[in-house]
Symmetry: C2
Subunit: 263 residues, 2 copies
């Protein structure tokens, strides 16, 4: 089993209304990569999809733009400097520091928001590429996200089309016949992580081609990346520790005031 990951250079600066499928097909054709074939997976930085979809808004204040995109504050931390770090849930249910608001690589005074429906964007892109090239390709849209408990960021999948998002070992057994403890590797997040290694943040290469994993490519109606998001009510870490403590403290205090002290 072997696959390759290569950056696709030569994409122009993306303007609102751009036909991204055509631009990517052209960039592949003009570059050193072999033509797209069945089973290829294109990992596209969601930022260029946002640009093509015109998701650029005026915002002098990035913090305000983040507030506007936030559906729920998950955790806050007052730093010694007086600044507040926020971890928030955005419209897509994705939890991170910036709610998907990107203020780098856009014109001053503007920020870039995430695509409204990244799975739909991925489907549109995959359908366009399949039509233009005749190759049955899959598409993932990536964004960069921090994590609980681990420093640094990795690229994760916020949109998927024609790519198997999870492997599923539920009920499968190991060589000794024991049920496997790890049941659901998130292939989509592993693919976007791999792609980040060639796209990088300063290289200006927003598209990577993953070749050799055709067994993960299927119909465009496969489940999308929205299925990766764990609903808050099922999540043991739906609130920051301090925030949950404070909420508990207030409830406990009120109850302690109401109840007669036990002697």
């Amino acid at each position: 089993m072997r696959f390759s990951v290569e950056g696709i250079p030569g994409l122009p600066e993306i303007e609102p209304g751009a036909d991204l499928a055509a631009l990517i097909a052209d960039a592949v054709a003009a570059g050193e990569s072999a033509p797209l074939v069945d089973g290829d997976i294109l990992v596209v930085t969601s930022k260029v999809v946002s640009k093509a979809e015109g998701r650029i808004v005026q915002a002098d204040d990035r913090e305000q733009a983040i507030t506007d995109e936030t559906v729920r504050v998950v955790a806050t931390k007052l730093n010694p400097s007086g600044a507040v770090t926020r971890i928030v849930e955005n419209r897509l249910g994705i939890i991170g520091a910036a709610a998907g608001v990107d203020a780098s690589n856009t014109a001053p005074g503007t920020v870039l928001l995430l695509p409204l429906d990244p799975d739909a964007s991925a489907r549109g892109l995959a359908a366009g590429l399949r039509e233009l090239t005749g190759a049955r390709v899959g598409v993932l849209l990536s964004d960069t996200l921090g994590r609980a408990w681990r420093q640094g960021q990795t690229d994760i999948a916020i949109g998927a089309a024609g790519v198997q998002v999870f492997d599923d070992f539920a009920g499968r057994t190991d060589a000794s016949g024991r049920e496997l403890a790890v049941t659901k590797p998130c292939l989509a997040d592993e693919l976007t992580a791999a792609a980040e290694l060639v796209k990088g943040k300063t290289s200006g290469i927003p598209v990577a081609l993953v070749r050799g994993l055709g067994h993960l490519v299927g119909d465009l109606d496969l489940p999308g990346a929205a299925t990766i998001v764990r609903p808050a009510e099922d999540d043991l870490f739906r609130l920051g520790a301090d925030d949950a403590y404070d909420e508990g403290y207030r409830a406990g205090f009120d109850e302690g005031q109401r109840e007669e002290p036990q002697s």
Copy 2:
């Protein structure tokens, strides 16, 4: 920029005391891969390192083995079935469901613990491979981990030697001269995630070769994977939401009992 990831088949079942560097070098030499060259990165499932290091213990009860490896319970959840889901911190500071205890692919009645010092294990392996092959390779040890907020698991780095663990963009600017918001991609976790796509869970291939990212390979004294772990005191999610709420509730209740009710 282009790299490839290939599974290295042909490794025998690993016994305690096995010379893993020699076995990996032999497997590469016997397989279809070209000989190891400077800049190659080997991603090794930590399970085979544990086996070589004899980290197999008798344990009829996997839950008890997890308890023994736990330094701190991070979150608990009582399921409708009556079973308790635990998220725990292990000796290495890594937070997950199983504290690194693996009960699959080991003999019945035994479990496999993580290497005692995975960065040291990675250094030993990299030094051995460099000596045996003359190639300046890097080594990552991987484990499989769930995440907050996202379903499924990905492979992460628990040991690293001779591989740059983070990219670091702190202070670097984008094309418009604005400071980049994403400052620290975790290359090691992205590499182990990529490797999982060829190693899989049922293929029996515990080693992957990443070729073409030689700019990430350096001296064996580069910082290891222990630097990826965020100390609990710095983490906004150091406790589960319910657990922190309960802790706050108890403190608030006691305080509410002590204080005279405000009218």
